[in-house]
């Protein structure tokens, strides 16, 4: 793969970060915010993979470890979302503020 394709990947990664930020900032639903944060993660992972191409071992290690950390983050956030839903029967941040959870 040449540099032109790497350029496409960098533009895609930037778009993913922008779209994820839009979902995070524009929605009040916790599930939407979680999956938007995951879109940002996909973009950041692509950027790291491209920029660390000169040290492939570091890129491999960082890619693997980052994926594991994000999987752990998803477990915790989904558990919090399930607990909140059981308590206030809503996933809107405004409802959470009203309930004062």
């Amino acid at each position: 793969m040449d540099g032109g394709a790497a350029q496409v990947v960098i533009i895609l990664a930037s778009l993913l970060v922008g779209l994820g930020a839009y979902g995070l900032a524009g929605s009040r639903n916790l599930v939407r915010q979680l999956i938007s944060a995951e879109v940002v993660f996909n973009g950041i992972l692509l950027l790291i993979i491209v920029f660390l191409s000169r040290s492939p071992i570091a890129a491999n290690m960082l890619g693997i470890l980052l994926t594991v950390v994000v999987a752990g983050e998803i477990i915790i956030v989904v558990a919090v979302i399930a607990a909140l839903y059981r308590r206030i029967a809503s996933l809107e941040t405004s409802a959470i503020e009203e309930e004062g959870v």
Binding site: G4, V8, S14, N29, I75, L91
Partner: protein
Amino acid sequence: MSLPLEDLSVVALAGISTLLALAVVRHKDMVYASASLALLGIATALLVAILGYPIVAVFLVIVYVGAAVMFIIVSVSMLGGGGYEEWDDYRGLAAGAASGAAVLMIGLFGGLWQAYSPPEPVSLQTIANLLAGDYAIVVIVLAVGLAATILEGIAIARRGG
């Protein structure tokens, strides 16, 4: 001028990924939005494989898509689809800020593509040796942290907040 098949694949995957990311952010049904995230994860894994990191790509598909994102989809389905979604009044502002962030990132990092060179292939044996050797402490800390995370997640979900 003809593009090699690999470059065409990257361009096609980039287009598909952008559409899937839009579906994740805008689809009204949370289950379908989460399913789009799973497909986006697979597209990202394909891109990572094309960039020269097949082991990371396999890891992404198995751990990220196969476990974590599936966990989101199942949980959202069990919560009844995530409920009604209310968008903020200032979502236009959010869209503008996000577009600005994307343009800024392209401006900051777009010129760095010249730093890219196809990586030397790294064998699975090398990665396994590194994880068991130089990165052993990191792996142990991560394993303990993940175990604690899983227990914490179960405790939070059982307590109900």
